[in-house]
Symmetry: C2
Subunit: 219 residues, 2 copies
């Protein structure tokens, strides 16, 4: 399993777009490695269709997508035709899908869902999402079971938040959406605020009298 | 760390509502154990306020909430006054917060964010969310870093999906919201559909000709 801050290994994999080494594949960009339980299954078809539709949004944010399941590359390629038809996609399918037929990556990265088994009784992959930075370091993870399709708006939302934190010294509050007010991170000293946040900072009054809730327009 | 399907241990903990043993505390219900990095910090204040406001929604769904950070119970209790003031809450704060001062649970359950350290240089807890069933078995997990506040609408959405799967034989597609169409899970045989799904099932036509995309109104 991988925890926040861990670097994902530089694994080699066969994909629908040929062989890759993970770190070289990232090529200095952020990445989202996301697994699905099985090709030719309903929820996965809706998810990969939505991911493909949103591919330009991820690209705009400098984030590469790569799927994974324990099926073969030829199974993936056949299934992609169904995804394209069901989600009315056109053009080339925008991201590779890893063929982890021997479950090596699924086991190594802790992506299995013991409640979901294939016809041979082997566990399938869950709906994992690993968002990594350009050094393949894990920034955020989701593990959803086979029966709960993910929310790609939420995945875009957290990408926006993660990128903001890297580029500006802000964090994002609960339920934040792009454009909402952000929060100055605790390590920023009061004296550095005017220079760092020229749009102004508003400090909330709370019973403790501590001045830690510092809101600022999204930088 | 805990993976999907693992049972969370029956840990003992000191909380803002006294000592608990986790399994007895669940008391036959589902639970959400969620950690935050630190008391008296901005994003956490917005999150716990929102969680408190949504407490009746979680209760309606038979799901108990319990927070956790590496602060003392008295720190939590002082900070709760700030949360209540900032989020305009009234009445008793609706859920306990675990005081994991020695970081024992945070380490055992893999809740640490190595990028966030306290003044002594020790790592703080990340924003973990562990949704467990009545047997403390992990159904879904999120690990968000300190700088990205969670989305409690998404947490409610996945609770609704998880509960639907347990009670009816459906899964939920990408971006599903309560009331949207659901998907018949692959293990349901065609001959059992009329009895199980009296509202009807619509099968999507896809190039493979396989009949696996089976939509039905939410049962």
């Amino acid at each position: 399993m991988v925890n926040l801050g861990d670097q994902l290994p530089n694994f080699k994999a066969n994909t629908t777009q040929g062989n890759i080494e993970f770190h070289s594949w990232l090529n200095g960009k952020w990445g989202i490695l996301f697994s699905h339980p099985d090709d030719y299954t309903p929820v996965c078809t809706t998810e990969l269709g939505r991911a493909a539709k949103l591919a330009p949004e991820f690209e705009k944010r400098g984030v590469k997508l790569i799927g994974l399941s324990c099926n073969s590359a030829s199974s993936h390629s056949g299934w992609i035709k169904d995804i394209e038809a069901y989600s009315s996609l056109s053009g080339q399918f925008p991201f590779p899908i890893i063929a982890d037929e021997k479950r090596e990556l699924a086991v190594q990265l802790g992506m299995l869902d013991p409640d979901e088994k294939d016809s041979a009784g082997l566990p399938l992959t869950c709906r994992a999402v690993f968002i990594v930075d350009q050094n393949a370091k894990l920034k955020l993870s989701l593990l959803y079971p086979a029966t709960t399709g993910r929310n790609f708006d939420e995945i875009l939302r957290v990408v926006d938040s993660l990128k903001l934190t890297v580029e500006k010294k802000v964090a994002t509050p609960v339920d934040w959406k792009a454009g909402d007010k952000c929060m100055v991170i605790p390590s920023v000293k009061a004296e550095d605020i005017p220079k760092l946040f020229p749009k102004g900072v508003e400090i909330a009054n709370v019973p403790s009298g501590k001045q830690y809730i510092r809101l600022t327009p999204q930088p």
